[in-house]
Each structure stands twice: as C-alpha cells, then as structure tokens.
C-alpha cells in the first residue's frame, strides 16, 4: 500500500519526501555515529545504527538531488556550505559543538553530492554559461553573478568539495579540545563557499570576489589562535603579501575592462584576438602581455610563486586542517586554475608565458632546497607545496594547461593526505612538531604510517602513483617545449625531482623509522620553537618521558584512508581523458604555435605503458637516487648530514634563512614603506590634509551652517518674503529666456 501511495505522488512531493527523509537519515546517522563516543545513548549498537543511517542516507541524498533541476543544483553547490557557515558562525552557541560540525559537514556533503551529479551531467556533454543574478549596471558594464559550468569547473568543484569534506571530518577530531570549535567550522565552510564561487564564476567580478574571499578566510584562519603573536604576524604577512599580488590582479582586470568593456569571460575571450593587436596607450607595450603579466602577478600572490611566496611557510601557524585545505589543496591552486581558465589570453603572449615559465621553474627548484633544512614537520610539507606549485606553473608556462590542472588535482589529494598525516603525527606527539623528537612512529601509528608512505610515494612520482602521471607529463611537456626559458625550466624540474624525493623521504625516515627520540630531550627543542605560544588548551606540548604516542581517533584516520585512495589511483584512471582525450578540449585553448602536450600525446599508449616507460627515464632514477640518498643519510649514517652542515655552513645558513627573502622584505619594503608612511603622515596628512583641507573646510562648513541657521528667524513675514524673493528670482529666468 505504501508503494502504491508513493507512485501516486507528484514528482514535486516525491522530491520533498526524498530530501526530508534523507536529511533525517543522515542527521540521525551522523548524530548517532559521532555521539556514541560520548555515550549519549549509552548503547553499544548506537554507532552501528548510525553507520547504517549514514550509508542508507547517502544514496537517498543522491537520488533526491538527482531530481532537482540542474540550474537549481548549480546554486545548491555554493549555497549549502554558505548556509552551514552562517548557522555555525552566527548561531554557534545555540547549535553547540556537535550542531556546528554536523551542519557544516552536511552542507559540504550536499555540495559534494551535487557536484558529483553535475559531473555526471557534464560528462554527458552538457555545459552551462549564464547569469543567475544581475546585481547592477553602471556605465555600460554589468555586474552579475553567473556560473560557467564545464569540465574544468566541475573538476575543481569535485576536488574542493571532496577535500573540504575530508577536512571537515578530520577537524572534528583534531580540534575537539579547542574553545573556538564553532568559529573554526564556520570559517572552513565559508572558505568552501568562497572557493566554489571562485571556480564556478563566469566573470571577472565574481572571480575577484571569490579570490578576495578565500584570501580573507585564509587570513582569519592563519590567525585563528589570535593570542599567539607568531600567528598574528603570519596572518598579517599573508595579508600584505597577497595585497601585492592582488594589486597586479586588479590592474589586469582593469586593463581588460578598459579595452573590452566587459567582465564576462566569454565576451573577453572573443575579443582576445583584437587585444593581441593592440598596444597599451602611452607605453607601446603589447597590451596582451601587460594583461597576462598583471593577471599572473595575482596568481603569484595566491599560488605563492617566488618572490611572493614568503607568506606560505608562515601560514603554517594556523591549525593543521587549514594547512591541508587552504594552503595545500585548494586555495593556493586558485592562481593555477585562473591561468588555465585564461588560456585563450595567455596563449597570445609568448613573453608572458616565458615569464610564467621562469618564475615557476625557479619556485619549483629553489623552494625544494629549503625543504631539506626544515625540522618542523609542517614546514617541510609547506615547502614541498611551494615546489609543487612551481611545477604547475611551469606546466602553464609551456602551454600544458591540462597537465597543470591534472597535477593540481593529484597534488590536492596527496598533499592534503600528507598534511593530514602530519597533523595526525602532531596529535600523536601531543602537539610537538619537531621531527628531531620523532622517529619510529611506525609501530605506534600504523594507519598514519602507511597512508603517509603512500602520500610520499605519490609526491615523488613513483610509477603508477597519481603524482607520477602528472609530474612526468609536465616534465615531458617542458622537454618538448620551444619557448624561451624552456632549457632552464627543464634543468630545474629534473633536479627538482631529486630534491623532492630527498626531502620527502628525509621526513618519512625521520618520523616513522629509526630510533625513537620522543619523550627524551624535547624540552630543549620545542620550547624555543614555541617560546611565546600560549595555545589555549591545556595540552602540555610534546610527550612526557616514557609516554608513547598512540594512533589518532577514527575521525582522523578515516579521512586519511579516503584521501589515500585517490592519491594512489586517480592518476592511472584519469590521465587519458584529462590530458589526451576530449575532456578539456573546448575549455583549454592551446595556440598552434605552441607544442603543449601534443608530442606527449603522440607517444602515449596506455597508463600502464607510461609507467613501464617511466622506469627507464631520468626522472624515475633521479627520484630513486633521492630516496636512496636520504636513506643513507638519515638511516644508515646520521652523522653525515651534520658533517655536511658544518662543511658547507654558508650554504646551510643561506637555506636556513630562506635566501634572506624575509630579511630583504623587512629591511627594504617594510622599513621603506614605514618611512614613506611616516613622511606622508607628518607632511601630507597632518600638515596639508588635516590642517588645511579637513579642519579648514570643516570650519568653513560649520561657519556657513551656523550662518544659515540665522536665516530661519521664525517670523512668518520673513518666510513669506523669502518666497516672494524666490518668485522674483525665477522671473529673471523669464526675462532672460522669454
């Protein structure tokens, strides 16, 4: 009977029923699954029931969403996390800790489910590019919110929502003791919303909105522990450095608007041919090069390319889930995504591409070097991120946009995995981040160990792992490229492979293998690393002597496992459609004069064949060399690194000080702008503006307004007189015109 009633329902009520049931099942499931730990229901079976609810709820959610119109679904994707963020942020006290993480995770889950459905739809060949809301029109330019849904967008949506969901779940465990729990969930959901708005945009205004919004959330999250002076310093630094990049970005957008009169991608791309033939007024520079370099300066800030990279390592002051979500997997790739999206513009300027290539190659190699000398586990991963972003940028420079985006995707998975693994280690070590205090964690944290190993193998590009396919494609593309700077880039990326393998496995060996160094002399080390740390929880940092690390709770390890799967497999399954198939055909544009990936495509037969072939190429042996060397240095002969450090102390000091970028910025830019600011303040502001303009005009206005008060005498005859005078003045118009 129930079934017959059901079939009689209209499709609208079916949908409502579906969604209601799904929400109920998921919420009940999540509640039971998560709260069983706190014995809310006092029943051993509660968690099992909860899991059944979750497992049953998910397909129901998908079925429910699949009945929603596609255009509605596009709106659901960014709005679901936004709703979560607003509820957790504004009503954090009311919904409580469990409420905050449930509602935000559910929002992101809905976004992920909707993204999967949109992916299926795009796979069937449907794309979308339209305005959903016009905000205003001014001077012939329309400001609107619109979505461009194509293969590039949907890939980014999947990556963002998937990694974000993993991070949401992970955070439940990682931040469980933190007093700012709800605030944190609100921020990460808000970040997800902003990032989705950025990638789904079909115009420059919305792109800029998302760009700034992710920057803002990143700023808030780096300084999440706002009582730590180091965190405040780091978030201010990130903010200021990003301003430099955004300035370029805004100039680029401004040039585009000035010459095309449009903010819409499609309209601008149509005009691209004309732009290429123009010169910038007054300077004679090719306009398209100026635009592309300006846009790329924005990307340099966001994607941390030399010399605007200085904020990223410091951003590790934020909680680890953030490092995974924002500073490794998603936000920092916004620059790469943007350049790939703008391929129809960049393809028209060889000069800009060479600039991109050289910057990327420099970042890839020299930031890798810095990873070697770091002792903080998160900083190693941070420098590795910088170096990998360099690889993506290199790919952009040689017109292999799809390889860049492919590496962006694989990197998102394995870098999020490595970061969350590092976070798990940090939990196990009771918030001690110094690798010199670790060692031998393999037997205490088996899941973290195996997933980190898989992540590291993916990072160094071991054949068959996802990183292998993306990185090898980039190297091959650089090899085939003809544009100026390709030789230098090839050298950098090849040497970079060796360096990557060396520092990755240095970290791996120091943390998981060898002698157990924890619980010994940790006081000496980490207290000076965190001298001014008054992290609000009552953890004491590091393990007490004799204490052993233990594996993290399941909310931490499950995301690790779920991220490990794509880290290993996704390259194998997606390389063919993404790089050589039709997937990006209509989205990414490669000019006829650029090689791009065409040579690689000619020699590509199958993913397996590529892996077998990879065994005979230089990158593989360089990587193996790096692994072997790190094994020899850190497992076999731990005295050698110390000896090298003594012998080449100058090089080591240079690396320790990060090539003195920070020092240079402090002395030159920070002090210089302070000097300039002081001059403008004293001379310009106080004397001229405050003295003459502001106070002077204020006095004048005040005097006139007091005088005008006298006009209003309160006498009726004077009022009438004023009106008569008014009539006479109006009559003068009659005399003049009549």
């Amino acid at each position: 009977m129930i079934i017959s009633t059901y079939t009689m329902l209209s499709s609208g009520s079916k949908l409502a029923l579906f969604i209601a049931l799904t929400v109920l099942a998921l919420l009940a499931g999540a509640l039971l699954a998560l709260n069983a730990r706190r014995r809310l229901f006092g029943c051993a079976g509660a968690r099992a029931v909860g899991f059944v609810g979750l497992v049953a709820g998910l397909p129901a959610l998908m079925m429910g969403l699949s009945r929603v119109e596609m255009e509605m679904l596009y709106r659901v994707v960014p709005l679901a996390p936004l709703a979560g963020a607003l509820i957790a942020g504004l009503f954090g006290k009311a919904v409580g800790r469990a409420g905050a993480h449930l509602v935000t995770s559910f929002g992101v889950l809905v976004a992920l489910a909707a993204s999967i459905l949109i992916y299926v739809d795009v796979l069937a060949g449907n794309t979308f590019n339209d305005t959903v809301y016009t905000w205003m029109e001014a001077g012939g330019i329309t400001f609107e919110i619109g979505f461009l849904i194509d293969s590039l967008t949907v890939m980014m949506m999947l990556v963002v929502t998937f990694v974000s969901l993993m991070v949401h779940v992970y955070t439940i465990g990682y931040m469980s003791e933190d007093p700012g729990y709800q605030r944190f969930f609100s921020y990460i959901s808000l970040f997800t919303f902003s990032m989705l708005m950025l990638v789904m945009s079909n115009n420059f205004l919305q792109l800029f909105f998302g760009w700034e919004a992710v920057g803002l959330v990143s700023y808030l999250l780096i300084g999440f522990w706002y009582k730590r002076p180091t965190a405040i310093y780091a978030n201010l630094k990130a903010f200021l450095v990003n301003r430099v990049g955004d300035f370029g970005f805004l100039l680029g957008i401004g040039l585009i608007v000035a010459y095309t009169g449009s903010l819409d991608y499609a309209e601008v791309f149509e005009e691209a041919g004309n732009l290429a033939s123009l010169e910038m007024a007054g300077t004679g520079w090719p306009l398209i090069t100026a635009i592309c370099i300006c846009l790329f300066i924005g990307a340099m800030g966001k994607s941390a390319q030399v010399p605007l990279h200085v904020w990223l390592p410091d951003s590790m002051e934020g909680p680890t889930p953030i490092s995974a979500l924002i500073h490794a997997a998603t936000m920092v790739t916004a620059g790469i995504f943007m350049v790939a999206r703008m391929s129809p513009l960049f393809e028209l300027s060889d000069a800009a591409l060479s600039f991109v290539l050289v910057i990327g190659a420099t970042t890839a190699l020299f930031m890798g070097f810095l990873g070697i000398v770091q002792n903080d586990i998160k900083r190693v991963v941070a420098y590795s991120t910088l170096s990998q972003l360099g690889y993506m940028t290199v790919a952009l420079g040689v017109s292999a946009y799809s390889a860049a985006v492919f590496h962006l995707m694989t990197h998102a998975f394995f870098k999020a995995l490595l970061f969350l693994g590092a976070g798990s280690v940090i939990i196990g070590m009771h918030h001690d981040q110094d690798m010199r205090n670790m060692g031998g964690l393999r037997k205490y944290m088996p899941i973290t160990w195996i997933t980190s190993l898989l992540g590291s193998l993916a990072l160094i590009g071991f054949p068959l792992f996802s990183g292998f396919y993306s990185k090898d494609s980039i190297i091959e593309a650089v090899h085939a490229a003809q544009i100026p700077g390709a030789g230098y880039a090839l050298f950098c990326v090849l040497l970079g492979v060796f360096v990557t393998a060396f520092y990755s496995f240095r970290m791996y060996f120091l943390v998981f293998h060898g002698e157990e160094r924890f619980g010994k002399a940790h006081d000496a080390h980490h207290h000076d690393a965190h001298a001014d740390d008054d992290h609000q929880d009552d953890h004491h940092h590091g393990l007490a002597p004799g204490q052993k690390p233990h594996e993290s709770p399941w909310v931490v390890t499950v995301p690790l496992v779920l991220l490990a799967i794509p880290s290993v497999l996704i390259g194998y399954f997606t390389i063919e459609p993404m790089l050589f198939g039709e997937w990006f055909k209509s989205v990414i544009f490669v000019g006829d004069n650029h090689v791009g990936l065409s040579e690689l495509a000619a020699s590509f037969h199958s993913p397996l064949g590529m892996a077998v072939h990879g065994l005979q190429t230089a990158p593989f042996w360089l990587a193996m060399g790096g692994v072997a060397l790190s094994w020899y240095f850190y497992m076999k002969r731990p005295d050698i690194p110390a000896a090298i450090q003594r012998r080449f102390s100058a090089v080591h000091t240079l690396l320790e000080n990060k090539y003195y970028f920070d020092r240079f910025n402090e002395v030159f830019f920070a002090a210089g702008s302070r000097l300039l600011g002081r001059g403008l303040w004293k001379g310009g502001d106080q004397a001229l503006i405050d003295g003459a303009v502001v106070n002077g005009s204020a006095r004048l206005v005040g005097w006139i307004s007091q005088a005008s008060r006298l006009l209003q005498t309160g006498h009726l005859y004077q009022y009438a007189f004023a009106m008569i005078i008014g009539v006479f003045v109006l009559l003068t118009f009659w005399f003049n015109r009549g």
């Binding site: 009106m723 009539v727 118009f733």
Partner: protein
C-alpha cells in the same frame, strides 16, 4: 445640452475612499467609545483602495469626467505607494497618539481625506482637478498639524503652514490662470496640444510657468520656498510630521510630473533651468543647515530639503538641447529617488516615534545616545537608514543618488554632479553623527524600548527593505521605468 453619464471605473478607488471617509466620519460620530474602530476602518480603506487600484482599471491610459481625470500606470503605481506610506505612517503613529490622548476618530478622518486629496492630485488631468486635490490634501494636513491644539508649538506651526500654504496656493492659481489665458485650455492634453501647435502666447505662458513653479516648489519644500519645512516638522506632533514627510512628497512629485512633463513638456528647457536653480540651492542649504541642528526632527527636515533637491536633479536632465531620448530614464531616476526618500523618511521618523513614550519626546539627537546598548537591533535599523540617507553603498539611497547622478552626467552637467556629490559628502557628516552617538556614546537613560509589537515588526521590515532594495534595486527601477514609459508614450 445632453448630460452624459461619465465612466466611473477609472476613478473607482477615489470613489471608494470618499465613501469610506463618510463611513469613518459616521463611526467617529456615533461609535466614539469603540477606540479601535476608526483606525481599523482607515487601514481597511487603504487595503481596499489598493485592491481596487490593482484590479479594477485597465493598464491603458483612460480619461474620464470629460478629460479632467486620468487613470494610468504612473498614477496607479504612485497611488499604491501612497497607500503604503500612509498605512505605515498611521501604524507608526498610533501608539504615540494614544500615549498623548490624541487618538481620536477625527485624526483618521483627516488622514483619509488627505489620502483622497493625494489620489486626486496624482490622477489629475486638469488644472482645476489638480488644485482641488492639492487643497484637499493641504487642508487636512493643516488640521493635523494643529491636532495637539493645546500645544503652543503645534498651533504656531499650523498657523505658519496655513498662511504660507495659502500664499503658495495663490501663486499657483495665478500661474494656472496665466496658462489658461495663453492656451485657452485647462486640461493637460489640450495644453500640450496648444503648445505643440504653437498657438499659445509664449510670453504669457512663461510668466505663468514661473508662478506654477513657485507652487510646486512650496509643496516639495525646496529652497527658497522651504522656510515652513523645519518649523512645521518640529512643531507638529511627530506622528503628523511623519505623515507630512512621507506620502505628500510622492503626491508633490506626481504634481510636478503632471504639470511640467505631462502638460508643459514643450517648455522643458525653460523649467529645467528653473528647477536646476532650485535644486542647487536646496542641496547646498539643506545639507549645510542640517549640520547645525541638534533637534533630530529639524535635522531630518533639512535633510528632506536636500533630498528633494537631489530628486529634482533627475527632472533637470530630461531634455538636452532638444533631444528627449534620455527623458524617461531621467524621470524614472527621479521617481526612484522619491520612492527611496519616502521609504527612508518613514523609517527615520518612525525611529523617533519608536523611542518616544508617554511624557517623553525623543526629539533631540542626544536622545539617541547609546541606543546600541539599549536595543542593538533598532540601533542597527537606524544605522541602515542613516547610511542609506547618506548614500553609502549598498543601500537604496546609494542607488537613488547613483541613478540621478548618472542621468545628470549623461545630460552633460558634470559640474552639477560634482557639486551634488561634494554636498552629499558634507551631508554624510550629520547622518554619521547620529550613528556615532548611537554606538559610541553612553546612554543617557536606559529605559527599555516600549512600543507595540506591530510597530517593532514594521520598523524592522522597513529598515531591512532599505537594505534589501539596495542589494536588489532592479525591480523597483524597472517599475518606475515601465510606469513612465506606459504613461508618457
């Protein structure tokens, strides 16, 4: 001479309101003890009139009463907004009047008659119809201004308002007689035709125009015909001030449009110059004088003067060296401005009413001190209103100013736009001072806000609508544009 029964349908709403005025009068005479009756009947009258306005007339332009009366989209949109403004103003004022033992049926009767007067003004297609509507509205307003008849201030304000209003009416009638003398017609369509075929004596016509302009300027309250505004706003009971400062501005706008655009469009270049003169003076004097005020009703009065000047800028920009293609955009910008001003005016005087209680008038800016501590929600509402009046993005006041300035710039008067922007920056000072007082000063008294629930809800809706329309102004912009397009072409 055979008598033709006129078509009553286009005037159905006016007839309904007139009948209801009689009903309210009877209710006031025979059911005085039922305190809620007059108020409820008045609100029902407004709702009924709104329903009739929406559903009865066709959308086309239709004339009746031998061409004295017109029903068109322009008029209907403005009438609907007038019902809304009057309804909200009565809702806000009710508690205030009850506290002061002034909530008598006659008050609502006058309000309904005022509404009827405004409706006739809005739909007038004839100089005499317009004049009758204007007087009907004004006489009701004079009466309401003096409603607190034992208060010296209130009666003084009413006396000033009445004498100056009579003078203005005299000027207006004189101007009308000149127009009639020059064209031989009283209805707007014939006047327009007479001008178009150049059969009118232009010297007499322009002479009449000057006097019409004086009457219009008095109703709008623009410099130098503004002197009554501060005194009346301050002297009248605040509930009445709210009525004077809201719906009549829409009616005055309609009157301006009917006279200048619907009838005397051929003289646009002449009246534009006059309006520009009035607008510039109003913007300058209104903003500067508002700074020196410590009484918030007086401050809002001067702010209203400058807003009306701003609104006139839209009318200045219609015809540029004979070209009329920008006219509808410019006039719809002015209409948008008038609507936005009425919304903000309702909310700002509504806040003054909200803070007032029995035996206490929240008239001074100092009475807003520390409002944020007493009621963060209403402090936020007042902040929205003040920001919007100052023209800060993204509230409705910003888009209103933007639209007007765009048409001014499109008409080539860049200096005018610059002047207007500079003056609104100066004007921002006194709006922001209210915000500063609310948020940064310590409260002078910490009595809880005492207001009926429906007023709190309406106040919140009013404040939020100012913010919401700032985010989504297109609907209202389109409404103003289509109303003018449908009625003018």
């Amino acid at each position: 001479m055979n008598f033709v029964v006129p078509d009553f349908y286009p005037a159905a709403a006016e007839i309904f309101v007139a009948v209801m005025a009689l009903v309210i009068m009877l209710a006031g005479a025979f059911a005085r003890s039922v305190r809620w009756l007059a108020y409820t009947l008045t609100q029902l009258t407004l709702v009924g009139a709104a329903l009739i306005t929406i559903f009865v007339p066709s959308v086309d332009v239709s004339y009746t009463f031998s061409g004295m009366f017109v029903s068109d989209l322009f008029g209907n949109v403005l009438k609907l907004l007038i019902y809304l403004a009057v309804g909200v103003a009565l809702l806000y004022g009710r508690g205030y009047l009850a506290d002061r033992r002034m909530e008598r049926p006659e008050y609502y009767l006058l309000a309904v008659l005022m509404t009827l007067g405004m409706m006739v003004m809005v739909s007038a297609n004839h100089l005499l119809t317009l004049y009758i509507g204007l007087e009907m509205m004004s006489l009701a307003l004079y009466g309401m201004t003096a409603f607190d008849r034992d208060s010296v201030r209130s009666t003084e304000a009413a006396m000033k308002y009445f004498v100056l209003g009579a003078l203005a009416s005299g000027l207006l009638l004189y101007g009308m007689s000149m127009i009639y003398g020059a064209t031989g017609a009283l209805d707007f369509v014939s006047i327009k035709d007479a001008l178009y075929f150049q059969t009118a004596n232009k010297t007499v016509l322009l002479f009449g125009l000057v006097f019409l302009m004086a009457g219009i300027a008095f109703k709008l309250g623009v410099v130098p015909f503004h002197m009554w505004v501060p005194d009346v706003y301050q002297g009248a009971p605040t509930a009445v001030t709210l009525l004077i400062a809201s719906a009549p501005k829409l009616a005055a706008f309609a009157m301006t449009m009917r006279l200048l655009v619907f009838a005397l469009f051929e003289l646009a270049e002449q009246w534009q110059a006059m309006l520009m003169f009035l607008a510039v003076l109003s913007i300058i004097l209104g903003n500067l004088a508002a700074i020196a005020q410590s009484n918030i009703k007086r401050m809002l009065a001067y702010s209203g003067i400058s807003h009306m000047g701003f609104m006139l800028l839209g009318l200045v920009a219609g015809v540029v060296s004979g070209e009329t293609h920008n006219a509808i955009t410019a006039y719809s910008a002015a209409m948008f401005y008038a609507v936005a001003y009425v919304l903000m005016s309702l909310a700002s005087f509504g806040m003054v009413l909200l803070l007032a209680r029995a035996g206490f008038e929240a008239e001074e800016i100092d009475d807003f001190k520390g409002l944020n501590k007493r009621s963060p929600w209403f402090a936020a509402m007042m902040m929205i209103v003040m920001f919007s009046m100052a023209g800060i993005p993204f509230f409705i006041g910003f888009f209103a100013k933007l639209a007007v300035l765009q048409s001014v710039v499109a008409a080539g008067y860049v200096w005018l736009a610059v002047l207007a922007v500079v003056m609104s920056v100066i004007g921002a000072f006194y709006y922001l001072r209210v915000v500063k007082v609310m948020y940064f000063d310590a409260p002078a008294d910490d009595a809880p806000i005492h207001a009926p629930a429906e007023m709190r809800v309406m106040m919140s809706v009013n404040g939020l609508s100012i913010a919401a329309l700032g985010l989504m102004p297109q609907g209202l912009t389109y409404l103003c544009w289509i109303a003018l397009l449908a009625s003018l072409t």
